[in-house]
């Protein structure tokens, strides 16, 4: 499938004149201090850097882009460098189609395919941390299609090895596949919206996994973990985003509301029917340089406990409230102060934390989507 897509892309390329494009280099440096560790990953306590990035982008003959992103994370316990993106993407195949091949961010949910340096909070919402390991990228091939309708309507699909979703290598060739769709439009002069629905099929494990082995590992509450900790055969996601700016001029003022809901069934490695989670976030940029925001989220999960020699599964719940104030002295810099409050039911590691987060970008950066 991958080879076919590449062949198609090459065929299209050869029909066009060669145009030389400049290599675009971008660097994002991220530095933070977090007062405490909190539950379900995210940033570790102390000083560190969570998502510093070196990205290279090269247009090839104006019809394909090659993109590579190397991401580094380090904190007081751990350091890690990994290749998060390395893909070829067509710019425009006939009929509103595009193909992506290589390692890339899966096109699911609202936040997954966006780069975390454009996030409004210092950590991804709970549901992303629980079900997608923060953000899900993998090796595979993706196709997207923009319908020729008046209202924006886009469909996309992807097939991946599945190796990057969990901590283990996938058992089957196509470990995961995805489907997603999104719609959107303007509401008068000041507002616009987008909604989406996505599905992730996870074939990397089998549902009866937990019965033959007792491999439910201790979660690494401190520090980050790359894999999704809570997985199931099916993950459903829905998202809704609404943005408002007076006259659509978001330089001075903007309100951004986002909500997502995730549902996981045929759960792997746990004796519960399903997991689910949601978040709601609101960010108000009240001036050219300042914005404030609040995010409320919850995940409903399950943990195994030993009770008088018996293993029992218990439903657990984690609720998280984040409040942030952010100052952007220039277009490329941002300083953010964030307070996070966690409430847990039968779950360890929940705490409250204050994070100070600074981010600066140099060089070229890809334009941001909606």
């Amino acid at each position: 499938m991958k080879r076919k897509a590449l062949a198609l892309a090459t065929a299209v390329l050869c029909s066009q004149a060669n145009v030389v494009n400049a290599l675009e280099v971008g660097v994002i440096l991220d530095a933070y201090h977090k007062s405490e560790n909190t539950a379900l990953g995210g940033r570790a306590e102390g000083f560190g850097s969570s998502h510093s990035e070196l990205s290279l982008s090269q247009g090839i003959a104006d019809l394909t882009t090659a993109h590579v992103a190397l991401v580094g994370e380090w904190n007081e316990q751990d350091s890690d460098l990994q290749l998060e993106e390395a893909y070829l993407q067509s710019s425009a195949l006939p009929g509103g189609m595009n193909v992506t091949a290589g390692r890339f961010l899966a096109d699911i949910g609202y936040l997954n395919a966006t780069h975390s340096h454009s996030d409004n909070f210092s950590e991804r919402p709970l549901l992303y941390r629980a079900f997608l390991g923060g953000h899900y990228f993998d090796d595979g091939v993706g196709v997207s299609w923009l319908a020729p309708t008046d209202r924006y309507w886009r469909l996309s699909a992807g097939a991946f090895t599945g190796d990057k979703l969990g901590e283990e290598k996938s058992e089957s060739g196509i470990g995961t596949w995805t489907l997603s769709t999104e719609f959107g439009d303007d509401l008068g002069n000041n507002a616009s919206w987008q909604m989406g629905a996505s599905y992730l099929r996870n074939n990397t494990q089998s549902s009866d996994h937990h019965e033959d082995e007792d491999d439910h590992e201790e979660h690494d509450h401190a520090g980050h973990s790359h894999g999704a900790e809570y997985q199931g055969k099916n993950l459903y996601l829905t998202d809704l985003v609404w943005k408002w700016a007076p006259q659509g001029n978001n330089r001075q003022q903007q309100v951004k509301l986002a909500a997502e809901y995730a549902y996981v069934d045929d759960v792997y490695g746990a004796e519960v029917d399903h997991y689910d989670g949601w978040y709601l976030s609101g960010v108000y940029q009240f001036d050219e340089n300042w914005s404030a925001g609040i995010r409320q989220g919850r995940v409903n999960l399950a943990e195994e406990h030993e009770h008088a020699g018996e293993h029992e599964w218990e439903e657990t719940r984690l609720t998280e409230t984040s409040v942030m104030l952010s100052w952007a002295p220039t277009h490329t810099q941002r300083l953010r102060l964030e307070y996070k409050h966690q409430d847990a039911d039968h779950m360890e590691g929940a705490d409250n934390a204050i994070t100070v987060h600074y981010q600066i970008g140099f060089g070229a950066h890809a334009a941001h989507g909606f």
Partner: protein, 298 residues
């Protein structure tokens, strides 16, 4: 399979386009929409931005994606002005006619010389355009050079209507020449006069007239005015008594109003481009308005 589906889709799209009579033009800025309406009579023209929006900061909204997906021709200023959003629209829209390098993608900055080019260093936090100031629609001479560029591009992508485009251009050029003479007379009276600006939005107009921008309320290009910086300009403004402090409709004019209060210099809030929904809906009217306002402030 994939190839078959995409071919099928391409054919059905082609059928859709062929039945449409006029071409569809998507412009990044409203000035090029206004110009296109005059140079391509009958074309469907859509502007991604309007006079109340800062074209540097635009959301790559779903509605813009579906609009650019249907365009036969996209006309933008270029020079980095739209780099924060246009590539996202092009990528999502997957419209082969308007990818970079295609005949349907026209960056006007490639056909004129820009001013205020900055050498940018990689590790710099400044927000400047290395390709120069992209607000060149405010120079009547550069606009004269760009109208034939747009017309020629229209003739390439829609060769069947070549004659219509040639006639429209001739008509436009005749009107523009007449207006130019009037503007030159007005400019002669403003020549050498000082003004205070906020951002480089009006640089081309100021240069064309021969006025002198003695101060910029932005401490650095693209960085919003600060009180400390405005304070530091007060003495100069009092001494040189500029004609006006210029801001445009999409800017926050707090610092300009404050400075006007402190110095007695008139604050002029002017449209930086055409207002497609208002009276100043083409470039002729825009220059008429801008020059009249500057003269009045004198």
């Amino acid at each position: 399979m994939l190839r078959m589906v995409s071919k099928l889709l391409a054919f059905s799209l082609l059928a859709l386009v062929n039945t449409a009579q006029a071409i569809t033009i998507f412009t990044c800025e409203p000035e090029w929409a206004a110009l296109s309406m005059e140079l391509a009579p009958g074309a469907k023209v859509f502007s991604a931005t309007h006079v109340y929006q800062d074209p540097h900061y635009i959301e790559a909204r779903p509605s813009l994606i579906s609009k650019i997906a249907k365009a036969d021709l996209v006309i933008c200023s270029g020079a980095g002005l739209e780099s924060g959003w246009l590539p996202a629209l092009q990528k999502r829209a997957a419209n082969r006619k308007v990818v970079n390098g295609a005949d349907g993608m026209l960056y006007l900055s490639q056909f004129i010389k820009t001013i205020e080019k900055h050498k940018t260093k990689f590790f710099s936090t400044e927000h400047v355009h290395p390709a120069g100031n992209p607000h060149f629609h405010l120079d009547p001479d550069r606009v004269s050079k760009l109208a034939p560029v747009i017309s020629q591009r229209l003739q390439i992508i829609d060769s069947g209507s070549r004659l219509i485009y040639q006639q429209a251009l001739a008509k436009w050029q005749k009107n523009w020449q007449q207006s130019l003479q009037q503007w030159q007379q007005q400019a002669a009276q403003l020549k050498g006069q000082p003004v205070v600006v906020q951002h480089t939005s009006f640089s081309y107009l100021i240069n064309w007239i021969g006025m002198d921008a003695i101060a910029d309320l932005e401490p650095e290009p693209g960085v919003p005015p600060t009180m400390a910086h405005a304070q530091s300009l007060i003495a100069d403004a009092r001494q040189e008594q500029p004609v006006a402090i210029l801001t445009n409709w999409y800017q926050n004019d707090r610092a300009a109003r404050w400075m006007s209060d402190k110095t007695g210099v008139k604050h002029l809030n002017l449209p930086a481009t055409v207002d497609l929904k208002g009276d100043i809906n083409n470039l002729q009217r825009l220059f008429d308005h801008l020059l009249a306002q500057l003269q009045e402030a004198q």
